[in-house]
């Protein structure tokens, strides 16, 4: 079972827009909320109210500062399973608990046969798998396999919980194996990229790069009234106009 399917009919996955993600963690908490009651439940926490609270979460959002000086940017970086086409985490599994589905390419762990050896987490360069200390088995993103095909849910809810929760539309779900799908077109249009392609695991999930800032070119040669100094006297009204000038020229 840990042998990979030769091909998958679909390549379901996520496209994450690093330009619009605001790092609000809504995808993180909605993921935890859904999955602690869904497939492979529970997602246990250790010492949730103690000195060292930690637990199994399937989605983490980092914040990085990228670049130097006035053009530097804060980039919020959601990180979860990329549902790789050739996942090393699946082939290292000694029990067959880890598997990749032939029908849609989703990588799952069977919580009833996982022995909790943690080797899959060692094999993943993306840190996507988190061991559940309370349940004794490995947990990972299921792409909300129990939502996306769930006919008991209204149609608009048949998408992963993280995508449903995102307030800025930074997360997109679809078939990345179909070049005509909305997500594939988005990836082509925005120059979506793979994380660590040199490992050869062929991630299905794609990341969209932050867009060039419109005022990026102004960063090194400041031209706003404050910096050019002529009209800035420091009066409240002046500062208001300077602020307005900045906002309007974005």
């Amino acid at each position: 079972m840990t042998s990979l399917p030769a091909t998958t009919e679909k390549k379901l996955g996520l496209v994450i827009d690093l330009d619009t993600c605001v790092g609000c963690q809504a995808c993180v908490t909605s993921c935890k909320e859904w999955n602690t009651g869904g497939y492979s439940a529970p997602l246990t926490d250790q010492q949730p109210y103690g000195a060292d609270p930690h637990g199994a979460w399937l989605n983490r959002v980092h914040s990085y500062e990228v670049g130097d000086g006035p053009t530097s940017q804060t980039v919020h970086f959601p990180r979860s399973c990329l549902h790789c086409d050739e996942p090393a985490c699946v082939t290292v599994c000694p029990t067959g608990a880890s598997y990749k589905r032939a029908e849609d390419g989703i990588v799952l762990v069977n919580p009833d046969t996982c022995i909790g050896c943690k080797l899959c987490s060692w094999a993943c360069p993306y840190g996507a798998r988190e061991y559940d200390y309370g349940h004794g088995v490995m947990k990972k993103c299921t792409l909300c396999v129990d939502r996306i095909y769930n006919e008991h849910l209204p149609e608009e809810d048949r998408i992963p919980a993280c995508v449903r929760a995102c307030p800025t539309g930074a997360r997109h779900f679809g078939d990345l194996g179909d070049p005509d799908s909305a997500v594939s077109k988005l990836v082509a249009e925005r120059g979506g990229f793979d994380l660590l392609p040199e490992f050869g695991y062929k991630p299905v999930n794609k990341y969209l790069p932050p867009r060039q800032r419109r005022d990026a070119s102004a960063g090194s040669s400041p031209s706003s009234p404050v910096e050019s100094g002529s009209s800035a006297t420091g009066a409240t009204a002046d500062r208001l106009f300077v602020w307005l000038d900045r906002i309007l020229s974005r």
């Binding site: 690093l18 500062e65 990228v66 670049g67 090393a88 000694p94 067959g96 996982c114």
Partner: protein, 315 residues
């Protein structure tokens, strides 16, 4: 990488056990020692005890030890599964050889074949153990050609020290077993030195810029962590020890794991049963401490690529 004591105990104890099986089988095959029942009984019991203790200890690493039997099923793709299969399969020829040696007092015919198969199986088990680690591309310190040979040679060295010590105790000390232990230890020391040199000199090729794909925008620095306390990924894969600390530990590995056992084994040449006996036991004790430390360092010095997301600059 977090050094899990159950895995350290498994790889060192079972490693010594498989090494001892190799040398017992070779000694039986080539008639290097008398096939005396007590020697066989003691030798095979010690080897099986070490192997079994190690295997049981390894299940303590599992979240669900009661399901450990499932790990024998995926030998087609999983190196961990292959190790499990080989580890258990080795009991069969080794057990047969033990029966021939202890109960029938000979190691010829069918038992000679069992001895050959034991040697192949035991060495393959050590190899499969090493390859679990060597195959992980996510841990550059492990993913290199020296990893598996070190597991094999240190297993064989532990076995050779045990055999020599046993022959001392039984008054059967022979020059070949002394030289065998010294040769294995010398080779082990060479490989270990080469391993340390390799991991110290390796160019760390993975960067946080590559991991996030944001390199075109400039240097990437962590601003905010995704969580306040370390999670599983950080606890398991983000284990760090200081460089100076690790250099001290390496010296201890060289002293305990190699210098003390080599010197003590050489003392076996002194024609005194007491000095020889004490020295050979000292070799066993030194090697036990040194090789456990070596295995601990093997984990502690290994840096997982995922640490890039958590603030490591390069990995």
């Amino acid at each position: 990488m977090h050094p899990a004591y159950s895995v350290i105990l498994f790889t060192t104890a079972s490693g010594g056990g498989y090494g001892l099986l190799v040398w017992l089988a070779l000694a039986g095959l080539l008639d290097l020692v008398p096939t005396e029942p007590w020697l066989g009984f003691f030798g095979f019991s010690l080897a099986f005890a070490l192997i079994t203790a190690g295997l049981l200890s390894s299940t303590a690493h599992l979240g669900r030890p009661e399901r450990a039997w499932r790990a024998f099923s995926q030998w087609r793709t999983s190196r961990l599964s292959r190790e499990g299969v080989m580890a258990v399969a080795t009991y069969v020829p080794a057990g047969l050889l033990g029966v021939g040696w202890v109960f029938l007092g000979h190691t010829s015919g069918l038992f000679a074949l069992a001895a050959l198969v034991t040697i192949v199986c035991a060495v393959l088990t050590l190899y499969t153990t090493g390859m679990i680690y060597a195959s992980l591309r996510t841990i550059p310190q492990w993913h290199q050609p020296l990893t598996a040979p070190i597991y094999i040679v240190l297993g064989l060295a532990s076995g050779a020290i045990l055999l020599n010590s046993m022959l001392q105790v039984f008054g059967l000390c022979a020059a070949w077993s002394i030289w065998l232990a010294i040769a294995c230890l010398g080779l082990g020391l060479l490989l270990e030195a080469a391993y340390w040199q390799t991991i110290d000199g390796a160019l760390k090729q993975y960067t946080v810029e590559a991991a996030t794909g944001l390199g075109q925008m400039g240097k990437v620095r962590p601003l905010e962590r995704p969580h306040s306390q370390p999670n599983f990924v950080m606890r398991e894969m983000g284990y760090r020890i200081g460089r100076t600390h690790s250099l001290t530990l390496r010296k201890l590995v060289v002293w305990f794991g190699f210098a003390v056992p080599i010197a003590s084994t050489l003392a076996s040449f002194i024609p005194s049963a007491i000095i020889g006996g004490v020295a050979s036991l000292l070799a066993v004790a030194g090697a036990a401490v040194g090789i456990v430390l070596e295995r601990w360092l093997f984990f502690a010095e290994a840096e997982h690529v995922v640490s890039l997301y958590y603030g490591a600059d390069r990995a």
